[in-house]
């Protein structure tokens, strides 16, 4: 066939005369008009809807399911949220409880969540393109739209866009946020939450202003080279310093160190005495145990497992770190060296200090410093050390003399969760997604190019996941969503008790473990209403010699060796100030509780309410091992507290395990009467 303009050509056949041209043009017009409806008819989503209809036909409740199907493009539209989601066009089984066994996507039932599925649409949580009408454009990043679906692993990040406070259903997000503070990320990186508050670090990196009094330059060198070689649980990251750099940094740190309040006493001390003998070591170890140092400090046991709390530093190799004379002074008076410390001021006498210090000094590791030999530092090394300290931002975390805390040292992460791809540089081998970018930034920070300063942190895979989740929550959308949807972040109150008792509470660092009026730790019970709860005499005895109420706990209240005057001051303050406004602590007099009531209460205790499942009254007979032992409860608690507690435990202490039994007044009174009769006297107490 010829293609020219000759008489037999195709052109001539189609457009040779006006009739032919009209006919051909009509056909072309019809075809082009048909394209749009055809595209619509053969569209992906229509095919999917047909598949769904086929699927539900096989179900027993096909008629009901069929009635729920609305053919055509579906859309969830929330203009105030910026949501235009067409996902439900294909995801037709989202709300169908009877499709719980269908695993085929896109027809799976949506798992239960606390919000209704149409309340916020889909993309606020899942990301992707809500307006797209093809599978690829909706789920993946394309040239025009670059926000792909968020992998299910990180879905809790989406909750964190509105919920800025800890949420029970999002353990991974909560842990990630905790780690941002605990691992010290926010010392260098600024994170401003959508409610305008700024995240603050919760670790307490030591002040290095007097470091030369505390430890040797050799230890500093080893520590800077590899912190985890000294203590596996150390949160100090590894900066990958060369031997020369570590030498120079340690030289500078020694050079900048000034004398602390310890200086006069240290100068008066003789050089370290000989190591303690075996008996002294055993005595020191047992005093360490009795003082419950392990509530805050961990040590590695023979099996290599860490045992103890993580509030203070790990002490496995402490003898290789600190100077013996400094250690004694530290145990005597921690605040004199580091005013912001969380370590309480134990009132040990000289002999006790010697015992604990002797025990700790024996915890050494000969290998740690065996190969560290440093010659006297030169001025050049010191200057180089200083420039390294400036360059790597050491003062972001530590107090260092003559070096100011740098401002905006590391990139701001307030919107990192929606950072555009165009602004991300991926190293080879990292998948081009935001979660993968963040994960490899956290695990291999120096893999992103030479000259980067971010150090390597020691984190478990689950911790990396948690951190990535918490960073993915920091989206632009979190800031643009209506403010009334936001649940504000929680911040510790600035509560500070007053007077002489306030001084004591501060000195003993009660806040490190106990919480009062919204400030303090969570290791030990909240004491905001302790004054309504306990009897004066019991509190006096307890402060003098704390014995545990909960036998199953390994973390216990230490004995601070308080003077009688201090005990009285504290007791008076607690009894008067920490009162619940909800009831009168003297509202129920012991005289109003009759023996008959107590007898009835005993029946209730062992039968109707089975309190003995969790509490012991007779340690010989009862076995319950969850709540406090009650054998001396009649000497410890006020009747009004017991009554209120029985009526509603959560109201007095939110989150307590004891369930609200919805007890009527009569039962509560009878049980109160019974518990008030429990006054077992023993020499050491029943615990």
């Amino acid at each position: 066939m010829t293609t020219g303009n000759g008489p037999g050509s195709l052109w001539n056949k189609l457009f040779g005369n006006s009739a032919r041209a009209f006919g051909s043009m009509s056909v072309i017009l019809l075809v082009s008009l048909a394209i749009a409806p055809a595209k619509d008819y053969f569209s992906e989503w229509r095919h999917t809807q047909n598949e769904y209809v086929k699927l539900i036909r096989t179900r027993a409740d096909a008629v009901t399911l069929q009635r729920h199907v609305e053919p055509g493009l579906q859309q969830i539209w929330h203009p105030e949220l910026g949501v235009v989601d067409r996902c439900t066009t294909c995801h037709l089984g989202e709300k169908e409880a009877s499709l719980g066994d269908v695993t085929q996507q896109p027809f799976r039932k949506h798992p239960a969540i606390p919000h209704s599925l149409t309340q916020f649409g889909c993309v606020i949580c899942h990301r992707g393109q809500g307006t797209a009408t093809t599978v690829h454009e909706a789920h993946h990043s394309t040239d025009a739209w670059e926000e792909p679906l968020l992998p299910a692993n990180y879905i809790e990040a989406s909750c964190g866009q509105c919920h800025l406070s800890a949420l029970r259903g999002t353990p991974t997000l909560n842990e990630g946020r905790r780690l941002l503070g605990r691992e010290g990320c926010v010392h260098c990186h600024n994170i401003k939450l959508a409610d305008g508050s700024v995240m603050t670090p919760t670790d307490h990196p030591p002040d290095l202003g007097h470091i030369a009094e505390k430890t040797s330059r050799e230890w500093m060198f080893a520590w800077i080279k590899d912190p985890q070689a000294y203590a596996a649980s150390a949160t100090m990251p590894n900066f990958g310093f060369s031997d020369e750099d570590a030498r120079d940094v340690s030289a500078f740190l020694v050079a900048q160190s000034t004398p602390s309040a310890y200086a006069p006493r240290l100068a008066a001390k003789k050089a370290a005495t000989a190591t303690a003998d075996a008996d002294a070591l055993t005595a020191g170890a047992s005093l360490y145990g009795q003082s419950f140092c392990a509530s805050c400090h961990a040590t590695q046991n023979a099996g290599g497992n860490l045992v103890g709390g993580d509030l203070g530093p790990e002490l496995t190799r402490i003898g290789s770190k600190v100077k013996p004379e400094w250690l004694e002074e530290w145990i005597r008076d921690p605040v004199g060296y580091f005013p912001a410390t969380e370590m309480p001021h134990y009132r040990f006498n000289d002999q006790q200090i010697g015992m604990v210090a002797g025990y700790l000094k024996s915890k050494t590791d000969g290998d740690l410093l065996a190969n560290v030999h440093l010659e006297e530092a030169t001025q050049k090394q010191i200057d180089h050390g200083r420039s390294l300290v400036l360059e790597y931002g050491c003062a972001s975390c530590h107090q260092i003399n003559g070096v100011k805390k740098p401002e905006n040292f590391a990139p701001d992460l307030s919107r990192i969760g929606s950072k555009p791809f165009a602004q991300l540089a991926f190293p080879a081998g990292v998948e081009h997604t935001l979660p993968d970018y963040l994960t490899s930034k956290i695990t291999k920070p120096r893999g992103f190019g030479a000259g980067l300063k971010m150090p390597k942190f020691t984190l478990a895979p689950a911790q990396v996941d948690a951190l990535t989740t918490s960073l993915l929550a920091l989206t632009g959308r979190a800031n643009s969503l209506p403010a009334n949807l936001r649940v504000a972040s929680e911040h510790e109150s600035q509560y500070q008790p007053a007077g002489k008792a306030g001084q004591l509470i501060k000195d003993l660092r009660c806040f490190s473990c106990h919480s009062f009026n919204g400030r303090g730790g969570s290791m030990a019970p909240d004491l905001s209403w302790e004054g309504s709860s306990v009897q004066r005499q019991w509190l006096v005895e307890f402060l003098k010699n704390p014995n545990t109420l909960r036998p199953a706990l390994i973390r216990r209240m230490p004995k601070f060796n308080l003077s009688d005057a201090d005990v009285n001051t504290l007791t008076d303050y607690i009894e008067t100030v920490y009162q619940s406004p909800a009831f009168d602590r003297d509202g129920i007099s012991a005289a109003s509780l009759t023996p008959q009531m107590a007898e009835e209460g005993k029946q209730l205790f062992y039968s109707k309410y089975a309190c003995n499942a969790c509490h012991m009254v007779d340690p010989q007979k009862d076995k319950g091992y969850i709540g406090p032992v009650l054998s001396q409860a009649g000497l410890r608690l006020t009747p009004a507290w017991i009554y209120q507690w029985l009526k509603n435990p959560q109201e007095l202490r939110p989150g307590t395990i004891e369930p609200n039994q919805h007890m009527d007044d009569k039962d509560a009174t009878a049980l109160t009467a019974y518990i008030m009769t429990l006054k077992l006297h023993t020499k050491q107490g029943a615990n």
Partner: protein, 236 residues
């Protein structure tokens, strides 16, 4: 169309993993042929969807005499979305193969299939992926229930199970819980043991937990039941 292409992509991705992992360790000699593949540890764990299992899965290849076989190739596979590191490799000197496993993006039971001896010997390891509701249930269980319903003691939490009579059932005890219907299970948690003529040692949590929280607990108990809890759906 799209579905099949996604499966293809996945197959490619997984074959990529296989290549990476298997390249350094090629099986040598007939001694590597295993007769049995047994699970050493890491079975029946529960984790959040998409997250790594807490413990790695450890498998051992044994020969016909029951002796461990070193250097035998083991290949893992699972449902869509299950990831392995490594997905395949040779057993170590004690005949064991260890892999980290990530749960799929959808909740429910999932199975890991391990193959050795050119695919002739296989072992199956069951795991559970927990969705939002079950994760919430697990949290509540740890806070309120585990002290009595978890037989394991940790330094932080001593189990109270053996102190009680009658003894509580571990939540994974499917034999017991699968016989209790949804409404009874929820009533037991909400109103306590006496509501169903059981022990008063089980207190009522209905005045402490919300309806949604009790539902979440029940959902968690169903999710980790062993043998698995099977809900019957209306299928023609």
């Amino acid at each position: 169309m799209k579905n099949s292409s996604m499966v293809l992509v996945l197959a490619f991705a997984m074959s990529g993993c296989n290549k990476q992992a298997s390249a350094p360790a090629a099986p040598v000699g007939a001694a590597n042929a295993g007769a049995a593949l047994v699970e050493v540890s890491g079975g029946k764990q529960a984790t959040r969807i998409g997250a790594a299992l807490e413990q790695p899965v450890v498998l051992q290849v044994n020969d016909a005499q029951g002796a461990a076989v070193a250097g035998a190739m083991v290949t893992l596979s699972g449902a869509k979305g299950v990831k392995f590191d490594p997905a395949s490799g040779a057993t170590d000197s004690s005949g064991q193969f260890t892999a980290q496993v990530w749960a799929p993006g959808a909740g429910g039971h999932f199975q890991i299939v391990a193959l050795t001896n050119a695919g002739k010997v296989q072992a199956k390891v069951d795991q559970v992926a927990l969705g939002y509701e079950q994760v919430l249930g697990r949290q509540l269980s740890t806070q309120y229930c585990a002290r009595c319903h978890d037989p394991e003691s940790t330094p932080e939490r001593v189990s109270n199970m053996d102190n009680l009579d009658p003894k509580p059932h571990a939540f994974s005890d499917g034999e017991t819980y699968n016989k209790i219907g949804d409404s009874d299970l929820i009533a037991l948690i909400g109103h306590g043991g006496p509501a169903l003529n059981k022990s008063a040692s089980m207190p009522p949590f209905g005045y402490t937990l919300s309806v949604a929280e009790i539902q979440a607990l029940a959902s968690y108990i169903r999710a980790i039941a062993d043998p698995p809890y099977t809900r019957v759906y209306a299928n023609k």
